[in-house]
Amino acid sequence: MKFKWSVIKQHLMTGISYMIPVVVVGGLCMALAKIFGGPMVGDQVNTIPWMINEIGKAAMMFVVPVLAAGIAYSVADRPGIAPGLVMGFIATNIKAGFIGGLVGALLVGYLIVFLRTRLKVPNSFRGLMPIMVLPLLSSFIVGLMMIGFLGEPIAYLQQGILEWMKSMQGGSKFILGAIIGAMMGFDMGGPVNKTAGLFAKGLMADKIFGPASAMIIGGMVPALGVALSVFVAKKKYTRAENEAAKAALPLGLCYITEGVLPFAASDPFRVIPACSIGAGVAGGLTLMWGTASQVPHGGIFVVPLMDHPLMFLLALLIGTIVTATILTLIKPNLKGEEEAEAEAEIGLNDLDIKIG
């Protein structure tokens, strides 16, 4: 068994990848219900918007269970799915939310791996291992732990975080949003970006949707800002970069930060700070102005479904201008025709080819 952070993160990411469509269904249904039925849609029993709202609520019930099932599946393969679902549901029930589901799923997953390697059974019983012994024993043990003593402190911690997030006003909201935004803009889909995304998406499982809008804006600003900088200062960029900017614009609008990669790879020390600062400003403003997104993906297409969409657009515009301005100012003029497509050498030395 390995307990490296990168391995654990891969498990968490797998869980999140299964969770995203559930959040999308739930978030979109609830947002649509609110658009058609108003903020009190929950009281208008048996109207169509109310029904859509009920669908959304049903999906939201499954967010943490599916996350937990995905994590446990990643750790322990198929025997992990059922116990993961159960742990996720327990976590939801005891209000231990996202963190509870995550802890329960990792525990149950690793317990299954442990049991599978240590438990020696006669051949005639082997068929029972994956469908009975492993799921039952692991659910039993971790379930008792969760309900018995782990759940309460986690629920406490979880509630504390939620209260803290809700109580935040003006300045501190700006700082949180700025941190999320800046992290999103920092490495375009790399580990820093993923950590911020993990945090924002995790809070969505607990119905805190503000950080998600900071996350989305942080993922959109870099590509838009760089594209804008290229359009206003064409001469500072190579022909290839001018072409890449045309791709970066739609990519940015669709919340695909990778549009920046060609620029960041060839000039990281100017492009990354410019992207981070612009994304940070936009993230801070959007959270401070109270926008919130119930949908974790989709870029410009989900803006109409957000709370305070116009504020989001304004923050997006400001962030884009900040990034573009900084980048245009610090970018030197081209010296001759530099067309070399630079490739970053990242961690290539510890490549490990396995036979097996």
């Binding site: 990411m13 990848s17 080819i353 036979i355």
Partner: protein, 103 residues
Amino acid sequence: MNIIGVTACTAGIAHTYIAKEKLVKAALEMGHTVKIETQGTIGTEDELTRQDVEKADIVIIAADIKVGGKERFTGKKVIEVPMQMVIKSPKALLQKIEEKLKG
């Protein structure tokens, strides 16, 4: 080289396919043959067949999440890398693999 591989990212809608494109482009430019399977949210596409696996010299798994069907590659040379590396420096990665394979 005869390269096969699998890509899979967290959301399963964008990076999975960007990584595939980068790998295929780099491999073709360097004169290799290549086939990449994508495991996106939509499901598995361009699935690697048993013949693909048999012919392959190297299996590149570029993923941020758990990849399905790894047992297909038993006995093959397998290299697992984060998505980032494939997207940022596909050519350097392939060069490095070539060096390593030659010993």
